[in-house]
């Protein structure tokens, strides 16, 4: 890997304070809420509240999403002002998303198999988590890690690309197309089936195929950043 790209990645990580703070506050708030709930339950104040809390690990998705928004919007110009080239920014961000997706996936898996199992003692209705909902947990922690990693990588590539294009007309066209796809495809049966097929492909199908689909799509979508970056005015 290009050393300048690694420097760019390092710089992005050093300047992720806002995304980290927002994620940290959210996770902390959910943890406090959960602890209060557990303390009340332990003290006999549990009145059979019906609640399906979202698994704490899933909140780390927020870090990946926010990073993919802030990095292209805030860091590109500043990095060029430090003498970075577009190619280094492109490669550096890819390193960021691979590490972030892997990190978020790892934390999510660890919390799912530890803290969330403990939470289940207090939530008879269960804890909502992407891992069992998408069926990844059934494949065991290692395969689930890779499934979640591939999905997060695709998600971050998509958000980064969309955010990077927002200062150009085609970024707005892409926004409009996404809104149209969601609003028009859902009510019309054949189009809805196309959406279902797509989401099956990136979420629900067998683990190897799901991972492969997500990785290939992530590479294809992230590659769109090359022409977008080339046209980006500084």
């Amino acid at each position: 890997m290009h050393s300048k790209a690694l420097s760019a990645a390092k710089l992005n990580f050093r300047n992720m304070k806002l995304a980290t703070i927002i994620t940290g506050i959210t996770v902390l708030a959910m943890l406090v809420q959960e602890l209060v709930y557990i303390i009340l339950a332990e003290n006999g104040n549990y009145a059979g509240w019906e609640s399906n809390p979202v698994g704490i690990g899933n909140y780390f998705y927020l870090l990946v999403i926010l990073a993919a928004i802030f990095i292209p919007l805030q860091n590109f110009r500043k990095m060029v002002n430090l003498g970075a080239k577009r190619k280094d920014f492109f490669l550096g961000c890819a390193v960021n998303y691979v590490i972030l997706a892997a990190g978020a996936s790892l934390v999510s898996i660890v919390l799912y198999y530890t803290f969330e199992q403990f939470m289940l003692n207090y939530h008879a209705e269960g804890v909502l988590n992407v891992l069992p909902v998408f069926g990844w947990a059934a494949n065991g922690p290692i395969v689930a890690f890779f499934q979640q990693f591939a999905f997060l990588l695709l998600f971050s590539s998509f958000i980064h690309t969309l955010a990077a294009a927002q200062d150009k007309w085609y970024g707005w066209v892409a926004d409009a197309v996404i809104v149209v796809i969601l609003s028009v495809f859902i009510p019309i049966e054949p189009l809805r089936m196309a959406l279902v097929w797509f989401f099956n492909m990136i979420i629900f199908q067998s683990a190897p195929l799901q991972i492969l689909c997500c990785l290939v799509l992530a590479i294809v979508i992230y590659s769109l950043n090359k022409p977008i970056l080339a046209r980006k005015v500084i």
């Binding site: 050393s3 300048k4 420097s7 110009r77 002002n81 003498g83 080239k85 577009r86 080339a230 980006k232």
Partner: protein, 282 residues
């Protein structure tokens, strides 16, 4: 060598750069002058590959320049460049990691020389210090072409003088092409070797300082003695007070008759008369 061939840049209906053709040498400190909105920053951004030309071609060496082919050997920092809010020393280290051959030693020496506190964060610096830091980061780069847009913006008189030292230190350590855009004309005249004047998107003058010293002068005397001398000369401006006239000329030197004095024209007078006079230099 840098070549602009019939380069035009339009923003909507406005031509920021209008059919410029110019060839620049490999080394030297060039001063880029022009009024606000003349096209100086656009000229630099085009050369750095930050924006796409609407027409024509720009070459650095044999390589054609565009945003998708950003030149590796051209470094440009615009005025008021925003940086990450990191410690000054960390910004220098980061720039060293992002650029091949970054002269960290030069950057650290300059930080010390300008008394820039390496522990301070970027947002804690004064406007002038922020500009100085960006200039240091740019000049520590080992690129063949350095573009500085309004590098002395927000500087006090001492800092402006120090900046000239910085520029010369950098040039002596690594001779290359340095283009400086500024409004502080006479101060940059102390260090620059060539001058480019841009007006309404066109290059009006591209000349060496020696050539300007020779060809730019003022004839002063009574109107009846001075006016006949101007026939066949390129007079770029005149000032009349009563029967006395000061005629600003950009042309061959003449030997004036008794009663007419010849004085060298300052760079700022030359600039003012070139872009604001009744006639333009040719």
């Amino acid at each position: 060598m840098i070549e602009f061939r019939n380069v035009t840049k339009r923003y909507g209906k406005t031509k920021a750069v209008d059919n410029i053709s110019i060839t620049l040498p490999k080394t030297g400190i060039h001063c880029l002058l022009g009024r606000n909105g003349a096209g100086k920053t656009t000229f630099m951004k085009l050369l750095a590959g930050h924006i796409e030309a609407s027409g024509g071609a720009i070459k650095v060496g044999s390589k054609k320049i565009s945003p998708s082919r950003m030149p590796e050997n051209v470094n440009f920092v615009e005025s008021g460049a925003v940086q990450f809010n990191m410690r000054v020393s960390a910004l220098i280290d980061t720039a060293a990691g992002l650029q091949d051959g970054f002269d960290r030693g030069f950057a650290m020496r300059m930080l010390e020389f300008f008394e820039l506190d390496g522990k301070k964060k970027f947002k804690q610096l004064s406007f002038g210090m922020k500009t100085m830091l960006s200039a240091i980061i740019t000049l520590a780069n080992n690129s063949d072409v350095i573009l500085l847009d309004e590098p002395t913006l927000g500087f006090d008189a001492v800092m402006r003088n120090q900046f000239n030292t910085l520029l010369l230190e950098s040039y002596q350590a690594h001779p290359r092409l340095i283009i400086v855009s500024t409004h502080l004309i006479d101060e940059i005249a102390k260090v620059n070797e060539r001058l480019i004047i841009i007006h309404n998107g066109k290059v009006l003058v591209e000349a060496g300082m020696d050539e300007l010293d020779e060809k730019a002068y003022t004839l002063s005397g009574t109107a009846e003695l001075v006016m006949p001398l101007l026939n066949g000369l390129n007079c770029i401006g005149q000032t009349m007070v009563g029967s006395l006239v000061a005629a600003h000329v950009y042309d061959r030197r003449i030997t004036p008759p008794h009663g007419v004095s010849v004085d060298s024209m300052s760079l700022s007078d030359f600039f003012i008369n070139t872009v604001g006079g009744k006639k333009n230099a040719q």
